[in-house]
């Protein structure tokens, strides 16, 4: 069942066709990897879907509802959440508060001036749970700015996840960490996402990670979708190999 | 009819002074992203030093000597700037800009009392220059020649600054640094030196404004604080970091102020602040400013 699809989506930056006539679909419950070389349009596509940018042409449909021109807030209410390429946290708040805040926001409780945040048992319990799911149970009291890079990347995902979105976009969740940490982070992310049946789209450069964890891979190049299919199919796709790896695959 | 001519000349006179102060403020902001709250006090210091040099030190001296001493204020203030920048401002460049506001505010407090200490609470004037240059007839009234000289200096300053920023190598370095500090540094520009020079020039201009206003208007305590807020309005309207903006803004503010004092004195200041507020709302970068 299709959760999200774009119809002839276009975004230009001057002469550059960052996203060029893209028909992108996401099926409910899958873990999809969005790959492509730098400048292929992956982040722009995610920016368009999350309302960080607005398209020049085309449509975005979530559950067949047209959300093309809705605001950031509307998209979030509709169930789209995202993390960013460069870790984007509330560095001077504790890791716990970062996650709790997402829950407060989701529950519409951030307008409460007259109650103590720390006393909301429901929110605390859920934040604890999420922290645990992401392996951050012992780091709650540290400020987000004081965590190690790998932990920050996980926290970044945890915060977006705590919004309990229908559709979660993760922009390079494993970039900037060591290989060992990469797999650990992806293990955590994928197990949470699958256990909770969250539909996730991950922008990723590391093809090993991509092949290991994805249900489906969409490869972009110069603003267009180059290939779209399960890992085995993509693995044998010459075009993908050429553009991404710069060489022909041995046949 | 003559009233209008006189008022017009007064407006341009005052605009010249405002331009010098505002352009300095704008330059410092444009290059260093610092809002120099002490800028008005530096203007006042320039006025005091020149008044002291002309009115006290060389009192009764030959007119030529007095004129030679006129820029004393500008030079003194530039020297002060050369000392302040490396000692008090440089340590804060890496810190959030709010801290820089606080430091310049502290400087304002200190400078106000430095002037009180050095020159006392009595107004200092440099009338001798004003008297020596006499006045010319404007229809049935007379207008001080000195004011016309100030207008001339203002025009010269504007031209000189424009040439300096847009036609010299140093100007290119200034503009490069103000646009992208890191890039400028990577290109081999000595950013530290550019900052110091920009700050010194900005201070020089504030001091010059004070120096040339004082034959017409005695130096008094508190003149800096009054001037700063007006310079602010100019820079907001004209755009932070823009030379043309400082010029247009100075003319606009000066004319509104003169007309205001003449026709509706109660609200002339309020009108200016309101204009500033409206400009900030519609076009926060001012008429010509750049977004930093």
């Amino acid at each position: 069942m299709t959760l999200l699809r774009t119809v002839n989506l276009k975004k230009y930056f001057g002469e550059t066709h960052a996203v060029d006539d893209v028909n992108f679909t996401v099926t409910k419950g899958e873990l999809l990897s969005l790959v492509g070389s730098n400048g292929a349009g992956k982040t722009t596509l995610v920016n368009l879907i999350s309302a960080y940018l607005h398209p020049d042409e085309g449509q975005i449909l979530l559950d067949e509802e047209d959300i093309t021109h809705s605001s950031v807030n509307d998209r979030i209410q509709a169930g789209i959440a995202r993390s960013f390429q460069l870790v984007n946290l509330f560095d001077d708040l504790t890791a716990f508060d970062n996650v709790a805040l997402a829950i407060f926001a989701r529950e519409g409780k951030t307008g409460n001036l007259m109650s103590i945040a720390d006393h909301d048992e429901e929110v605390r319990r859920e934040a604890d749970e999420v922290m645990g799911q992401f392996g951050l149970e012992n780091k709650g009291g540290l400020t987000a700015g004081g965590l190690a890079q790998g932990e920050r990347k996980l926290l970044d995902v945890a915060v977006a996840y705590a919004l309990r979105p229908k559709l979660l976009f993760l922009d390079e969740p494993t970039s900037g960490v060591s290989t060992r940490d990469k797999l650990q982070i992806m293990d955590t992310i994928s197990s949470v996402v699958r256990a909770e049946n969250v539909t996730a789209v991950i922008i990723e450069h590391d093809m090993d990670v991509v092949f290991k964890y994805s249900d489906r891979i969409v490869a972009m190049h110069e603003g267009k979708i180059l290939a779209d299919g399960p890992p085995d199919e993509i693995r044998n796709n010459q075009d993908v190999a050429t553009t991404l790896l710069g060489a022909a695959l041995p046949s | 009819m003559e009233i209008f001519i006189i008022q017009f000349l007064n407006s341009v006179f005052y605009a010249s002074i405002l331009f010098l102060i505002a352009a300095g403020l704008s330059l410092i902001y444009g290059v260093m992203q610092i809002i120099n709250l002490a800028h008005g006090s530096l203007y006042a210091l320039g006025a005091y030093v020149t008044a002291w040099a002309v009115g006290t030190l060389a009192a009764g001296g030959h007119v030529v000597l007095l004129f030679l001493l006129l820029p004393a204020g500008a030079v003194a203030v530039a020297a002060v700037g050369m000392v302040i920048e490396p000692t008090l401002l440089r340590p804060l460049y890496k810190r959030p800009e709010e801290y820089q506001l606080l430091v310049t505010f502290a400087l304002l407090l200190i400078l106000e009392d430095v002037m009180r200490f050095l020159f006392g609470g009595v107004p200092l004037s440099a009338d001798a220059i004003m008297d020596a240059t006499g006045s010319i007839p404007v229809m049935t009234l007379k207008y001080p020649v000195y004011n016309l000289m100030v207008i001339g200096i203002g025009i010269l300053a504007a031209l000189f600054l424009w040439a300096f920023i847009y036609r010299t190598r140093f100007g290119i370095m200034l503009r490069a640094t103000s646009q992208d500090r890191r890039m400028a540094s990577a290109l081999g520009i000595n950013v530290k030196r550019v900052y110091m020079q920009a700050f010194t020039i900005g201070c020089f201009m504030a001091g010059l404004g004070g120096a040339i206003v004082v034959p017409s208007q005695a130096a008094v305590l508190g003149m800096g604080i009054d001037a700063l807020i007006l310079a602010f309005v100019v820079v907001v309207i004209g755009g932070l970091g823009s030379l043309e903006g400082a010029l247009i803004g100075a003319l606009l503010v000066s004319f509104v102020r003169t007309a205001g004092i003449q026709f509706f004195p109660e609200i002339e200041l309020a009108v200016l602040y309101l204009i500033a507020a409206v400009v900030l709302l519609i076009r926060p970068t001012g008429m010509f400013g750049k977004v930093s």
């Binding site: 984007n88 508060d97 | 604080i225």
Partner: protein
């Protein structure tokens, strides 16, 4: 605005009350051993503490530096003064109601336009708007008394809805002591109120906006709206301080709307440390003493304050409270290290 690791206050209300109780006791007993002059001085300190507390909601918690908070202080003060002069009102409670209303309305209006911008433009806009008010106070002298100002004599005032008045009792001394307790009461209310606000989900959202506006937006937080509310609350607190100030000062003049006073409010907050809850309170009280003694000691008190501010910014950016908490953290760490080594 990003700074190093400063631990967030995580006291529960009970622990806070336990910490606060000795202070409350000291405050209540102060007039006994302080005497008339000191009591009056501390009253001013507490009033400014309320102003700084309000101001810091914007600076420390929302990351917005206002250079125009003198406006709200002045609005509170002038409203009270107008009520005395034009309506013949003597009840302090009415001053508070009227003043809070006016201040809230104007801060809402000013805030609405100001929060469309951030950083330097926000600061300059708040400055410009505050000076519009100053001009009105200064120029419309037939309404505001101009530089002569408006007198607010304590003898015609009543506290607690008329229960306490100063017509029959013996003069100034009685007023100072009664008024001190009144201010202490309101001060404690304000501190509690602000403490709750800052520790509420709203307060966390503000801090999130401060730390990372974009991410806050992508959590579904309406950034501009929340900034506006913070502005409104902040201005109203500072307005209350203005209302409380004017009966003690006896006179209101345009000076309190003049922009250097906004600078003083910032100074107080930074002095105590704006990344702590108690920083602005301590800073305001200390600043008040500093300024009073500076003025009494030298005619160059402005320079003295300026030098202190310079030292603060260059050497002690976390303010008094921040420096103290760093020091205690260091001492605690040292103690732990020594204990580790001993075992």
């Amino acid at each position: 605005m990003k700074f190093g690791f400063i631990p967030t206050d995580k006291l529960s209300p009970w622990r806070l009350a336990a910490h606060g109780a000795p202070i409350v006791v000291v405050l209540l007993l102060f007039p006994q051993f302080g005497g008339l002059y000191q009591t009056q001085l501390l009253t001013y300190g507490l009033i400014f503490a309320i102003a700084a507390l309000g101001f810091n909601l914007l600076l420390g918690y929302t990351g917005l530096l206002s250079f125009g908070h003198s406006a709200y202080f002045a609005l509170g003060a002038y409203t009270a003064a107008f009520m005395v002069k034009y309506l013949g009102v003597g009840s302090m409670e009415l001053y508070i109601l009227g003043g809070l209303l006016i201040t809230a309305v104007i801060s809402a209006a000013f805030g609405y336009v100001c929060v469309r911008h951030t950083r330097i433009f926000f600061a300059v806009l708040t400055l410009a708007l505050s000076q519009v008010l100053w001009t009105l106070a200064y120029k419309f002298f037939w309404v505001t008394g101009g530089t002569d100002g408006i007198r607010v004599p304590f003898s015609k005032m009543t506290l607690l809805g008329g229960v306490v008045d100063f017509t029959s009792r013996g003069g100034y001394q009685s007023f100072v002591f009664s008024y001190y307790y009144y201010v202490v009461g309101l001060f404690l209310v304000c501190v509690s109120l602000m403490w709750v606000i800052v520790h509420s989900p709203f307060g966390k959202a503000l801090q999130a906006i401060r730390d990372n506006e974009t991410r806050a937006q992508f959590l579904g937080i309406r950034v501009r709206h929340y900034r506006w509310i913070a502005f409104l609350v902040s201005g109203t607190f500072t307005g209350l301080a203005g209302i409380l100030w004017v009966p003690l000062n006896g006179l209101v003049t345009p000076d309190i709307a003049w922009w250097p006073f906004s600078g003083e409010i910032i100074f107080m907050t930074v002095l105590g440390g704006f990344r702590n809850f108690t920083g602005p309170i301590i800073g305001a009280v200390v600043f008040n003493y500093l300024k009073t003694y500076a003025i009494a000691s030298t005619v160059f008190w402005q320079a003295a304050l300026g030098i202190i501010l310079l030292v603060l910014v260059l050497a002690l950016p976390a303010g008094i409270v921040g420096a103290c908490s760093r020091l205690t953290a260091k001492l605690r760490q040292k103690k732990e290290d020594e204990e580790d080594m001993a075992t």
